[in-house]
Amino acid sequence: MSEQLIVIGWSHKNAPVEFRDKLFLSKDEIQGLVKEAVQKDFIQEVTILSTCNRTEFYFVSANTSPLISWVKEWYNDNLKRDIDFLQCEPYTHQGNETIKQLFRVASGMESMMLGENQILSQVKTAHEHLLMSSGKTPSLNQLFRDAVSCGKAVRTDTDLCRGAVSISLAAVELAKRIYSSFQKQKILLVGAGESAELTAKHFQENGATQFIIVNRSEERGKRLAEKFSAEYAKLSEIPELLKQVDIVVAATHSKEYLITINQVNQALNARQYKNLLMIDISTPRNIDTEIHKIQEVFLYDIDHLEDVISENLIKRKDEIPSAERIIKEHSRKFISWFKSLEVKPTISLLTQYYEKIRLEELHRYEHKVSEDEKNAMSKLSKGLVRKLLHYPITHLKGLADGQELDPQTIDTIWRLYRLEEMKDSEVEKSE
């Protein structure tokens, strides 16, 4: 029987978040599973990709039927998680579909947010875990390596992963249209909640270093200021701060305007009419909408940013055909490599089969002929075997290269020549 690639998994597509939480595996748990799995005779190779949105088991197995129940038992018996698997059956893919699945995952095509970037590093981590695990995993190692390069190619050659798809990232992207670098820009954050922190984090990741945090609660404001090595200021200081900052992000739940048109107008002269980007992601809005009328001010609220996001998502969707093409190309290369793995042991055993017959026959006559005749017979038989094997081997290699080699063909050859017995006797000999 030839070995097959198989994936068994649960993701946001077939399991709710509570169910996915129960399936999540830590690094240690993955290593524990791998150790136990390789002892099973129906598992040749295994690795797991476990993130908040998906847990997928990748196997190389000659007998795929017991895999699903083994995975379920492992959760319930070894990890004692008591998961009701009847609630959510896993999806499974075999052969080429497994390859396609992992390549799509690595490319962000299967992510909850199309073109998400984090998944590629998660696939890389799964590959690192695989490399650290004991035992040989040539097929999965190559599969994950190719998946990472496929993910990279999709990100480089298409716009599938470009354009912000979250409010805080959209705010940063917008600011990038005004400022080429945030290193010298002063950013005023009004509010110290989750949204303000996330936006500050994204600005910081993009090079921003100068933050001023303004918050009603001093304790909370100072805590956030400490996180970003920022200054803390009181709400009453906003009019003064408007004279020196380049970007203002308002993210509070205040029911009134915290920044008014008069404050901005008064600051304009002092700031020498420099551009001012104001992003209001508060609900209700905290920045006076009239400020939009001031020529030097670019005012964006949450609705505008959501428009940016929807537009980016449409653009990402337009990139799907290009991404699919890249995935197809990478899958084709991997399939070709994987098929060549299957054909190599077959060719080797086939050669051994013929060699064994040749030697047996020579042995039968070696006492009846002279030394010279024996050498001539050996030469003749070698040539004969080589010629007999030439066409089948070339044909097999050709099928593998052209991706036309199906498991049935290999299976037929193994049955015809009893290669399984041949393999067993080789194993016995080596033992």
Partner: protein, 273 residues
């Protein structure tokens, strides 16, 4: 020299055309490879263009014998200024716009290339040649600065109106457009200044007067003084953003309008044909 010059008339538009295609790809897809290749191809075009000027003049006269030669020189100036700005700022996305102008000018110059050239005596003087070269480069740089101003204006308008169109996606950030415009206007100011000084020096040598009563000369001198004053005010008052971009744009429109009017009104030794 004609057989030697003829291949340039095919090669130059071709090279500018290829550079334009690469800049186009870079603008449209942000493709890094195109972004790397475009300035290299443009540099090759400029080197070939320089060789063309040498072959054309044979070191005996300045190679602007007719209007189409002037177009070729303007194409060279625009491409050169753009390349300097691109190399300094590291931003090449605006290349498409400038190289398309250079391409159109060079195609016209190559298509209408005149075989029988009448060489005006003035052109054989190297000082006059330097004056013409610096003046053309200066005017081209100021024109580029005005285009940067216009780009800034358009992008700022798109950002302000929450319109994420092609300009929004393809243009460099506002602060970079401003920096490139500033650099271009400084190059223009310096180059035009040098051109005018050489012109006055040449006038003094030929006519014996430093400031000949020629409308074109007066307009150019006044425009240069205005640019210099404008630059000083911008520096002192720390003018920036939209105000600066509008100033660069309208300033050049006024300058170009005045030059055109002067050309219409008076004919002087600046016309060679």
């Amino acid at each position: 020299m004609q057989p030697l010059i003829q291949p340039f008339n095919v090669l130059l538009p071709m090279l500018y055309g290829i550079a334009l295609i690469y800049y186009g790809f870079y603008l449209r897809n942000g493709n890094e490879q195109s972004g790397k290749w475009a300035p290299n191809i443009l540099l090759s075009a400029l080197v070939v263009h320089l060789l063309y000027f040498i072959a054309r003049s044979n070191f005996q006269y300045f190679p602007i014998t007719n209007s189409f030669d002037s177009l070729s020189m303007v194409a060279f100036s625009i491409a050169m200024i753009h390349l300097i700005i691109e190399r300094t700022s590291g931003e090449g996305k605006t290349g498409f716009f400038f190289i398309s102008i250079a391409f159109v000018f060079q195609v016209s110059a190559s298509m209408f290339h005149v075989v029988d050239i009448h060489i005006h005596e003035l052109l054989t003087n190297p000082i006059f040649g330097i004056h013409v070269f610096f003046t053309l480069v200066g005017i081209s740089a100021l024109a580029i600065s005005a285009i940067y101003g216009l780009m800034y204006w358009m992008l700022a308008k798109q950002i302000k109106s929450h319109n994420m169109g092609i300009i929004y996606r393809g243009m460099p950030p506002l602060d970079q457009l401003e920096a490139m415009g500033r650099l271009s206007s400084i190059l223009g100011l310096v180059s035009l200044g040098l051109g005018l000084i050489m012109g006055h020096f040449y006038a003094y040598r030929v006519l014996g007067i430093l400031f000949p009563p020629d409308l074109k000369i007066i307009i150019n001198d006044v425009a240069w003084i205005f640019y210099l004053l404008g630059w000083a005010i911008v520096k002192i008052k720390n003018y920036n953003g939209l105000r600066l971009s509008k100033l660069a744009f309208w300033g050049f429109i006024a300058y170009a309008g005045a030059i055109m009017a002067a050309n219409f009104i008076s004919t002087s030794f600046h016309q060679f044909n």
